[in-house]
Symmetry: C2
Subunit: 205 residues, 2 copies
C-alpha cells in the first residue's frame, strides 16, 4: 500500500515499558496496512511521572504490581510476542533513548532497527539496557560506529533533544507508555491495538 | 451449551465504574458460550482504593483523567454498548450494592436484572444511582416490593455482607473495577475481554 499523504502516527514509549515493547512489535505493520508511517519517540517515564504527579504502576509489592507483572507476560503470549521477564526491572533508559535520537539524526532506518534490538535485548535476552556499554554493543552489532555513538551520548544537543521530547510528551497529555496518537486521537496501552486498527480503517468511530 | 460443572467465574465491579459497566454487558454471554456461569460481586472502589493505597484514576484535572473520560466513551462505541457520559461522576454506590445483595438473597435472577438496570440507569439515562430513592425506583420497576427493599437497605446483615465482599476483594488482590477471575486467573479491565474469551476457549494460554 502506498503512503496516504497523511501525517505520521506518533508512538511514545519508554524502553523499560513492557507494554511499550508489545506495541513496538505491532504498530509499524498495523500503520503500514493503512498507508501510514509511524514516528517513534522514546521518552523517560520517570520524568513524565514526576511532571504529572503519577506513581510508577509496578512497585514490587502492591496487588496491582503483582497483577501487572503477570499481565505483561500473558499479554505477550496473547499477542504472539516473545517475552522473558527481565531480572532487573524497571531500568533507567536515558542512554538507550539518547542513542536512538543520535542514530535518528544519522540514519532513521538504523534508529528503528536499534529500537527493536534494544527492546528485544531487554525483554527477550535480559540484558541491562541501562548500561552505556550494552547500548553501544547493541548499536555496534547493527554496524554503527561505536566511538561516534559514545561521543553522541555525551552531546549536549542529544541530551537536550531527549529533554525536549519528554517535555513535549507531557505537554500533549502523554502520561504513560505506550501512547499512540493518530491525528490528535490518543490511545494508551498495548491493549488499545484493536481500537487503533479500527480507527485507522474507519477514520474514527 | 450446558453447564460445564466448573466453578463460576467471579466478576468484581463497582456500579460507578464505566469499564465495569462495559464488562457487565458482555461477560455473561461470553461465559455462557463456554458453559460457564458468572457470580457478580458489586463492591465499593473507595474502600478498595483506601485499603490498597491507590488513588482514583479520574480526578477531573490530570491528563490521565482527561484521557479516561474520552476512552470510556470510545471503548463503549468500540464494544457496541450504549453509553452517555453521566453528568455526576463518580457516585457513591453503597445503596445500589446493598440492594443487589438483598435481592440476591430473594431471587438471584432478579438481582442480575437489577444490576443491569442500575448500570444502564447511570451510564445511559444519567440517573443519580447514589440516591436510595433511585435505587428503590429501579427495583420497583422490576416488580420488587419497594418497602421490603427499603428495609433491606438498612439491614445490618446486608451492610455486613457488602463490607465482607469488599474485604474479600482486597484479600484476593482486586485493586480496581472490573476484575474477572477465572479459576484463579485475574483479568483487570473491560479491554481484557478478548483474553478472557481466549482463556475460556483454551483453558489458559
Amino acid at each position: 500500500m502506498t503512503d496516504s499523504g497523511k501525517a505520521p502516527i506518533d508512538f511514545w514509549f519508554d524502553f523499560s515499558s513492557p507494554y511499550g515493547y508489545l506495541m513496538s512489535e505491532k504498530i509499524d505493520a498495523v500503520a503500514a496496512k493503512y498507508g501510514r508511517k509511524v514516528k517513534w519517540h522514546p521518552v523517560l517515564l520517570g520524568v513524565i511521572f514526576q511532571a504529572t504527579g503519577s506513581r510508577p504502576p509496578v512497585d514490587g509489592t502492591s496487588s496491582k504490581s503483582h497483577y501487572m507483572l503477570r499481565d505483561f507476560h500473558r499479554s505477550a503470549r496473547f499477542m504472539g510476542v516473545p517475552y522473558n521477564p527481565p531480572s532487573r526491572f524497571p531500568l533507567p533508559t536515558q542512554n538507550a533513548a539518547r542513542a536512538y535520537y543520535w542514530l535518528h539524526g544519522q540514519d532513521c532506518a538504523q534508529a528503528r532497527q536499534f529500537a527493536h534490538a534494544t527492546y528485544r535485548a531487554f525483554f527477550v535476552d535480559d540484558r541491562d539496557i541501562s548500561s552505556p556499554d550494552t547500548v553501544l554493543d547493541i548499536a555496534a552489532g547493527l554496524g554503527v560506529d561505536r566511538a561516534a555513538l559514545a561521543a553522541g551520548l555525551q552531546d549536549p544537543a542529544i541530551k537536550a533533544r531527549l529533554k525536549d521530547e519528554c517535555e513535549t510528551a507531557v505537554s500533549i497529555g502523554v502520561f504513560g507508555s505506550p501512547h499512540v496518537i493518530i491525528d490528535g486521537e490518543a490511545f494508551f496501552g498495548a491493549d488499545r491495538l484493536p481500537q487503533i486498527e479500527q480507527w485507522l480503517e474507519s477514520g474514527g468511530f
